[in-house]
Amino acid sequence: ESHTQYERVGADVTMKCGSMDWDAAVTWTANGTDIDESHLNGSYLILKNVDLSQSGQYSCYEGSSWHLKYQTNLRVGMVVPSATGLLCRGEGKGFYCSWHLPTPTYMPNSFNISVIHGTKDMVCEKDAVPKNRCHIRYLQLFSTVKYKVTLTVTNPLGKNFTTLTFDEFAIVKPDPPESVVAKPVPNNPRRLEVSWQNPSSWPDPESFPLKFFLRYRPLILDQWQHVELSDGTSHTITDAYAGKEYIIQVAAKDNDIGTWSDWSVAVHATPWTEEPKHLTTEAQITETTSASTSSFMAPPTTKICDKGAVVGSGAMAVCWTAGLVVAAYSVLFI
């Protein structure tokens, strides 16, 4: 008959050879290897200050007949840690709680979550995936009565509790937006089109709308640009530096309460640039010249100078402020 025995790291373990008397002649093995007699006290096996490496199968055989008298699977591990990373996050109609063990215990652990609202017990439904998460739907919305969530983690060495107490509004924090995509806009060297989706863990954006915060910067600069958007799941950046790779992230928040989500996964994108042309016939050069100068002109809709501040003439006419912008571009292209 095989057993499993759970012991704490550092403990002293005594194993009896089944029903054999103390003075019986026996041989002990660990994972098939004989154990030296110095570890025996009569027929008892004594393991002092056990460590993780001593986990394994221990067997005891009667001296002369080599009959197997006792077998046990020794599992050395740790008690449940007191910190469990218990976290609860509201999503409008209810909340999720998740947890994890910061250090392994090397033995099987089970988790139990209890939720009390005032005097009422509630059930947090465990998710199939991920395993360490449960979801509870509020019976009442807008209550000032606090919720008390208790996580009990149990393993063969004992149990530990973690408790969180909060009210409905205090824990509202969405997950970051999902599926963030940034694309260049054809024929627009300063634009990037960004779109994203509401986090899938936010079940009812119609009744509990989210607002968003977008941040972006070219990889070569440290300073972020920020845009706050009260609705919609897309935005067009119109002031990107031509030809520079950008990094873009989005965060979400309930429109009315709670805190901002973490930043989404970063996406990279570079605005549209014209294909570089090779120097060939004169006819083609002329075409190229007029096409390439247009990309250095300020966009027609942007009014950035007065008539009197124009420098140059014809196709290369730019005004003072645009001239400074062009100079800045030139520096970046060096």
Partner: protein, 200 residues
């Protein structure tokens, strides 16, 4: 009978709802600030649990998403009328207790009271748009054997009740924003607001 809304009524309702949402948003921000001031000046513990006090409308509601538009408006109106009276009473108690010593708190209370009154009126406008009669306020009717006036609370009880009032008001302000958003949604089938149309 299910009444289809005229386009102008639908526009007016959406307009009233958006303005109401902004009013409630500002009101909530002011109530939250007032709560901080109140807790500090009254020497209370911010995390103290306050038992539900009689007369303070609780924002907590079950099956919130199943409520009709009419229910939302009526419950909101009843709540803000109650808050109007409660805040007026708090203001009076405040003046009795401290006179000029707490002018800042008094002013903040008065400002919130103004916004609560304005919001109640705004709700009445929405109800009028629905062509619904506006319920009379309690205390308007004369009763022969009215309930006796509640016993006067001790100073400490007054402070705790004040905390309860402001906390519930802060919750209500969020609920009102959410309610108005539901109200502003066009109904997919008839074009009327969900819940405003009544079944035969």
């Amino acid at each position: 009978m299910a009444a289809a809304e005229s386009p102008s009524a639908a526009l007016r309702r959406r307009d009233l709802c958006s303005r109401g949402i902004r009013l409630a948003g500002k009101m909530r921000a002011d109530v939250v600030d007032l709560l901080d001031t109140y807790v500090e000046q009254q020497g209370l513990d911010a995390s103290a649990s306050v038992a539900a006090v009689e007369g303070v409308p609780l924002a907590a509601v079950e099956h919130w998403d199943e409520q009709t538009g009419t229910q939302r408006l009526l419950e909101n109106l009843a709540a803000y009328r109650a808050f109007r009276a409660l805040l007026a009473q708090m203001l009076e108690e405040q003046r009795e207790q401290l006179g000029e010593a707490d002018a800042g708190l008094g002013r903040a209370l008065a400002a919130v009271l103004l916004q609560v009154s304005a919001f109640a009126y705004h709700l009445e406008e929405l109800l009028r748009l629905e062509s619904r009669g506006i319920p009379g306020e309690e205390g308007d009717e004369e009763e022969e054997d009215g309930p006796p006036p509640p016993p006067r609370l001790s100073l400490f009880e007054q402070k705790l009740r004040g905390l309860g009032v402001l906390r519930e008001l802060a919750q209500w302000a969020v609920r009102s924003v959410r309610d108005l958003r539901q109200l502003a949604k066009p109904s997919p089938a008839t074009g009327a607001a969900p819940g405003l149309a009544e079944s035969p």
